[in-house]
């Protein structure tokens, strides 16, 4: 499935500054592996111990993949994936 992935500012060092890159895959996990092949270093910013990093959000079109199976969320031809680091923090 051919998709487009929006890359947040902080990860654009891995894409040569590009804010939007094409990718392919049938699931989010496959798309990430595909991205890693052409933009090395990206995967480890997104995936930790086999699951999506706690403070990284990935959306397929408008839906947070956490509600659609996480890394196993299905991806269709023409889908737009958006990666957004969480905005979060705490007192400690």
């Amino acid at each position: 499935m051919a998709v487009t992935v929006s890359i947040p500012t902080i990860l654009r060092t891995h894409t040569g500054g590009e804010k939007s890159v094409p990718a392919a895959g049938a699931t989010v996990a496959e798309v990430i592996d595909h991205l890693e092949a052409s933009h090395g270093g990206l995967k480890q910013r997104l995936v930790k111990d086999g699951v999506l990093h706690r403070f990284v959000n990935i959306y397929v079109n408008d839906e947070d993949v956490r509600f659609a199976g996480g890394l196993e969320a299905k991806v269709a031809d023409g889908d737009n994936l958006t990666i957004l680091p969480a905005v979060a923090g705490g007192a400690r």
Binding site: I10, D64, G89, R92
Partner: protein
């Protein structure tokens, strides 16, 4: 340095007071490349906690799409500490992922006097910066080109 209009400072502090004892959080968006905070966007703290804040993930997507549509970036990302100092915690520094943003911390630990400080957080490294509160951006810098013609006065 963070240069920011007074009404925006007041809005952040009012938000922090309103949500106390939960941490308040939000963004002040500004035109990309200007480093000028202009549009105050308070956010819901999905964690609703006195010691943690997080933008709801759906709100986050909406926010970034909205800023994108206006060619804006998050110039200021603010949140409050309700029992500790207005300094980024280890968690704040670890999670911060907008290297160009000014991270504003407000402490509401004292019911009468708030603390407000600003920081850059890049690769987990915290650097404090001075905050200059201005009445308006137009007259914040004066120079020969900004001075009106005598006939216009």
């Amino acid at each position: 340095m963070l240069q920011i209009r007074r009404d925006l400072v007041d809005a952040m502090v009012a938000h922090a007071r309103r949500d106390h004892p939960d941490e308040a959080c939000g963004v002040i968006a500004g035109p990309e490349g200007t480093d000028r905070p202009e549009r105050f966007i308070p956010m819901l703290n999905a964690a609703r906690s006195p010691t943690f804040y997080e933008f709801d993930s759906a709100d986050l997507l909406k926010l970034y799409r909205d800023m994108d549509a206006h060619d804006e970036v998050p110039v200021v990302i603010y949140h409050s500490h309700t029992a500790t100092e207005a300094y980024p915690s280890r968690t704040d520094a670890k999670i911060a992922a907008e290297p160009d943003a000014h991270y504003v911390l407000i402490s509401t630990r004292d019911p009468h006097e708030h603390e407000l400080r600003s920081f850059r957080i890049v690769d987990g490294l915290i650097t404090e910066e001075p905050v200059e509160v201005v009445e308006s951006y137009r007259f914040a810098h004066t120079g020969p080109d900004d001075f009106p013609e005598p006939s216009a006065l």
